[in-house]
């Protein structure tokens, strides 16, 4: 027993200092963390405000990029406030007396799909995409005089779930990433004269990334002036 005890004791004698060192180290770390947390709790209002401000600033910058695409002719021509779509980079009224109709798809004998097929018809110059139609009036990004709404107004409309088909941030990101008519803007085909239609000011990848940054920042909207 003595021998065993002595052996055991000798074992403990060898490990005890290590255990103590570890315990001391853990204690020091815990105390340091606690102190850090305490310091952070004292410093947090300002630091957190700074983080929030930076996030909001970054989010607003991302929104401005998104806004530049939404208000480009390829997108806004079908986000009118009037009874008709627009066409061309000069956003002129759509020819042939085309009207919106009840569901934004035209009227019985003059539907959007009376001319616009599921893909671009480059030989005839008629653009096309899946389910070609106007955006609902709740998603108008122009006023009734065809003037583009401000960044504030468009942002409010886009983030208002009572107007945007109940899309939250991830829903908006998905819409910008996958919706066929959104994607069409970057493959708008040829005009009747054979020239290429103008694409939005950002690439689709940049647009999606800007949307992602804006959504991650909490979808901030600019303040009204």
């Amino acid at each position: 027993m003595l021998l065993r005890s002595s052996r055991t004791g000798s074992v403990f004698d060898q490990t005890a200092p290590n255990a103590n060192r570890i315990l001391r180290s853990v204690t020091v770390i815990l105390v340091a963390c606690g102190a850090g947390l305490l310091l952070m709790s004292f410093a947090s209002p300002k630091a957190q405000h700074g983080d929030r401000a930076r996030t909001r600033t970054e989010g607003l910058a991302a929104w401005q990029q998104v806004y530049s695409v939404l208000t480009s002719p390829r997108c806004i021509n079908c986000h009118t406030a009037t009874n008709y779509p627009q066409q061309g980079d000069d956003r002129r009224r759509h020819f042939a007396n085309v009207v919106r109709g009840l569901r934004g798809q035209g009227v019985p004998a003059l539907q959007c799909v009376s001319c616009h097929q599921k893909v671009n018809a480059d030989s005839t110059g008629a653009p096309g995409g899946h389910d070609w139609h106007l955006a609902p009036l709740s998603m108008k990004w122009q006023d009734r005089n065809d003037q583009v709404l401000s960044s504030v107004e468009v942002c409010r409309a886009v983030t208002d779930r009572s107007k945007n088909h109940n899309l939250d941030g991830p829903g908006l990101l998905k819409h910008h990433t996958e919706e066929p008519l959104v994607l069409w803007a970057w493959h708008p085909g040829h005009r009747p004269d054979g020239s290429l239609r103008t694409a939005p000011p950002l690439t689709h990848e940049q647009f999606v990334e800007a949307t992602r940054r804006w959504v991650e920042a909490g979808m901030p909207c600019p303040q009204a002036p």
């Binding site: 020819f95 042939a96 007396n97 085309v98 009207v99 109709g101 009227v107 019985p108 004998a109 003059l110 539907q111 799909v113 009376s114 001319c115 097929q117 599921k118 893909v119 018809a121 480059d122 030989s123 005839t124 110059g125 008629a126 009747p192």
Partner: protein, 158 residues
């Protein structure tokens, strides 16, 4: 050149055309269905209107390669269509036509309207027929003929 099988007025037809050729040219030049007219060539006048898959469609803007298996109905088949017959009779009884060049497109649009809205309001007529131009200015008689045809359809005109 490519060969396409299309269904026109209930009959299966083969046309060998350039894939980019508008349906209008396949109808007129290949199948000799010349009732459908070439007007502006850019979808602005409605003279080339046919029904494609049941939708009034500007055949000058749709390449043959995009038609697929959607049935095509032209003015030549309107006499066999119940609504088409009523519209034709209204056209005749009101002597709508002057030069007549745009009338096949007008009738195709009018039939599409009445099949969708048997009791059209004046606004319905104005909007649906707004893409069909008539250089003779027969708009008043066209509108009256649509009203007359509507009265002949179940439900009548509003």
């Amino acid at each position: 050149m490519e060969t396409y099988t299309i269904t026109v007025n209930g009959r299966t037809k083969e046309v060998t055309v350039d894939p980019s050729a508008p349906l209008l040219w396949a109808l007129r030049e290949e199948l000799k269905l010349t009732g459908t007219k070439y007007g502006c060539g850019i979808g602005a006048c409605g003279a080339c209107t046919v029904h494609l898959g049941g939708v009034a469609t500007r055949s000058c803007l749709v390449p043959v390669s995009m038609v697929g298996n959607r049935p095509i109905i032209t003015i030549e088949a309107m006499a066999e269509d119940p609504v088409g017959r009523i519209v034709r009779d209204a056209w005749v009884s009101l002597d709508v036509v002057q030069c007549g060049y745009c009338q096949s497109g007008q009738i195709m649009s009018a039939v599409a309207l009445l099949k969708s809205v048997p009791r059209p309001t004046d606004k319905n007529i104005e909007e649906s027929m707004g893409g069909n131009l008539c250089r003779c200015g027969a708009y008043v008689r066209i509108r009256e003929a649509i009203r007359a045809a509507s009265r002949q359809l179940k439900g009548g005109v509003r």
